[in-house]
């Protein structure tokens, strides 16, 4: 399952998409809207996505993760639009026969997502707003 959604993400639904009887480990990462950035109060977040490109990029991330951690299954959902503090912006679920592979695959998937998924985040403050870039994205620079 690879989706961009505009409503609250149902974590269990993402987990069910990767689960199978041979999987002894199901692991989900939930990214949540945080109330501060470098000491500044954040009131909410606004996410924007290039929807049509997100789905193929999510599949590429899955392929890269499975290439490095064979035998895992991966699903992910990213939310867009306005989020309140505490709401989930992203969920990545992986399933594997054993936990070590699940942890490795999940960490790799979120790192790749931050570097490659065409999604943008605006932090909203009491006195303004600004677009925030991932460190992983900045490393790529102009090609």
């Amino acid at each position: 399952m690879f989706v961009i959604v505009r409503e609250a993400i149902n974590v269990r639904e993402i987990e069910k998409a990767v689960q199978w009887p041979g999987a002894g480990a199901v692991l989900s990462f939930v990214g949540v809207a945080r109330d501060n950035f470098e000491g500044r109060a954040v009131l909410g977040l606004e996410y924007e996505a290039y929807d049509e490109m997100c789905l193929p990029v999510m599949e590429q991330i899955r392929d890269e993760v499975v290439g490095k951690v064979p035998g895992v299954r991966v699903a992910m959902a990213h939310r867009v639009g306005r989020l309140e503090i505490g709401e989930a912006s992203v969920v990545i679920s992986v399933a594997a026969p054993h936990r070590a592979a699940a942890y490795e695959a999940n960490r790799l998937a979120i790192d790749l997502l931050k570097a490659k998924l065409p999604v943008w985040k605006k932090e909203v403050y009491a006195d303004g707003a600004s677009w925030k870039a991932n460190e992983e994205s900045g490393e790529r620079g102009v090609s």
């Binding site: 996410y47 290039y50 490109m53 992203v90 998924l117 943008w120 677009w131 870039a133 991932n134």
Partner: protein
């Protein structure tokens, strides 16, 4: 040659629109397109990535008729 350009985040706000259709010279590569659309200003020097028809490409990728080109500002997903 006609192409469609998609703008996102800060680039979308600067342009005041999310997309537009443009006629461009046959030889234009995506990096030249970016320089053309965002001449020498602060946002124009943002380290963008490029995508054509929903896949990342390098800056010297040449445009083709009907392409959908996206200028990808630094990402903030997650």
């Amino acid at each position: 040659m006609k192409i469609t350009v998609r703008y996102f985040a800060g680039l979308r706000e600067q342009k005041g629109k999310a997309s537009e259709e443009l006629s461009v010279p046959e030889v234009a590569c995506v990096r030249e397109l970016y320089s053309h659309l965002f001449p020498d200003d602060k946002v124009g020097r943002m380290p963008v990535m490029y995508a054509v028809n929903h896949a990342y490409v390098s800056g010297d990728h040449e445009l083709s008729e009907g392409d959908e080109v996206a200028l990808i500002p630094p990402l903030g997903g997650g």
